[in-house]
Symmetry: C4
Subunit: 192 residues, 4 copies
């Protein structure tokens, strides 16, 4: 089965997720500076989550580029990823509304950890279909970023109950690390 509709559906869901988050930025009733500055934590949460979801879309774009045919295992691994991504707006909103309290900060880490695991499972499902000689398998190599991210998320989840600023530092750090595009796949495709 062709992967075209899977890509289109995923694009639709991710487009909605990324845009729904902005609805948490609720229009204040007053028209003064304090009404605006009161939204700062919600806005910062939005920026961070926008970047994370954009990174997922970007990598998903690269990932499915390597897979022209999909089977049921890939379809469901993809659905699983979309499910966990769909919870990011909730975690973002809760964190923003509570001015970065410990529990919402930890939950945000879980909301980042789960799609990371789901993405890993999707990679596995694609490699299983195309074999370890496929473009993706060779491109991934040791997959350092994919392996270190969950460890960092877990650290941030634990740190939330000690000092939330450590968690935020980690969330920003991981985002920056991923913003560097996944040149491995780009290179592997070019070499073909």
């Amino acid at each position: 089965m062709s992967s075209d509709r899977l890509k289109a559906f995923s694009d639709g869901v991710v487009a909605i997720i990324i845009t729904i988050m902005v609805l948490e930025l609720k229009v204040p009733h007053g028209a003064g500076w304090s009404d605006l500055t009161g939204l700062t934590p919600v806005f910062l949460s939005y920026v961070l989550s926008f970047i994370y979801v954009a990174i997922y879309w970007n990598n998903h774009h690269h990932l499915l580029h390597t897979s022209e045919k999909v089977d049921s295992a890939i379809l469901w691994a993809n659905m699983n990823l979309l499910f966990w991504l769909s919870l990011i707006p909730f975690a973002t909103g809760w964190m923003g509304e509570n001015h970065f309290a410990p529990l919402p900060t930890a939950l945000y880490g879980i909301a980042l950890l789960m799609p990371a695991i789901a993405y890993y499972l999707l990679q596995r499902a694609i490699i299983r279909r195309h074999g370890s000689e496929g473009v993706l398998a060779q491109a991934l190599g040791t997959d350092f970023k994919g392996k270190i991210s969950p460890v960092l998320y877990l650290t941030a989840i634990g740190a939330a109950f000690v000092a939330t600023w450590i968690s935020y530092l980690i969330y920003v750090l991981v985002a920056v690390m991923w913003l560097v595009p996944d040149r491995r796949i780009e290179n592997a495709l070019r070499e073909e």
Copy 2:
């Protein structure tokens, strides 16, 4: 007429339906454990409905794969299916918010029964166009799952007024039954 735009439009509507449901998971004002655990029934309802809508997308994907040309009957049978799917978020929200009370539990069953009937009518419309010798007609065969599901939904609707846990057991059971992908169509396509 080509089925491409029909697929794209359906993908769009289903993507929105599946994502709109998460909006029922309203961000709590407090930042404590109890604020989070209070959302458990809404969350569980969301998980169940996400799986159901994902199953529909998946099967719809397979179904329209067999039909490259569409006529007005197929267009409207598809619109009918989308209409009933669009009511799932409402039924899900009502069930989740009322902690699985009898009437919302029964309505949820109706919200699952109606798209099942609509899906059946869409299958008929496609078969009518492509003839009983078409890929779909042969693939469906006796269509056991398609026939047993409405019976199970009806049982669950009735059971809701006796003991809601029976209804939930049935809803989960049917979801599990469908999670096994529709290999009939996949196989029929492969044999061609």
Copy 3:
């Protein structure tokens, strides 16, 4: 310029419009029959508007099928149509929430009249580009339904201040009239 992206964008907007309307069907807090039956007017409004938007999508599908190339006039005529369609959820919600009071009933008629005019302008823009010998120009012929609809909407708008049931009768009648698919274009395409 190719019409592919125009179709895709229109599909996206219409998919969101049709799904946003269901959000007016707000989840009631109680779990009893009266909570559900209280939603009847909102539900009926939703059904009617769903059918109207579905008719527009359907006819839009046929209409742009005849136009592979688009120019700026077509692009903006299409945007104008999408703008008026985007106001249907508001008019639907207002009518449903106010149990079919005169003013909301009349506004609903305006919300149907405006996209009808916009659709007419879009047809003109396409015919202007493809010439009166094009598929669309010949298919439309006298365009009876397109010409009688605005007259009927205007009648319904006026009737709303006398007896709202006349308006509803007209709204349902026009919907039924359009549900008969636009075979003119289908036939013209087949003859080519």
Copy 4:
């Protein structure tokens, strides 16, 4: 990498942004004229923003038409544009709800200025990839409208604290200026 999915994703996000804005037009509880007329500022804000987002989609359509291949720089420049566009509904809602008070009027100008800058950066990213001999580079030429717009937005932002009607005049003026389609690219493509 092909630009198809980038276009599809952008279409999805812009379709949602343009439709989400209409949600600020909240259904009033009463059914009288005053309930409707009270929404006038929100409605006018919606019309203006709809036109702006439509202009962006239109120009984005032309812009990416010139670029069949995309790299990571283009992907992220595009994400940056989508981010700023996603804030337009918020700025629109705040301006409409506060009946055009100074600070919301100025923020609206910022909400228009930022995507203008982001659009400029996206143009740069595309030109960098395709070279100054590419279709886009020649089509843009001196890019008068692209250069004058930010200056006008800045003027409007400052004017908001003196007399808001000057700001609105400018916002409407810039929209009218852009409504004239970007014939430069259309012409350059035709000459090829």
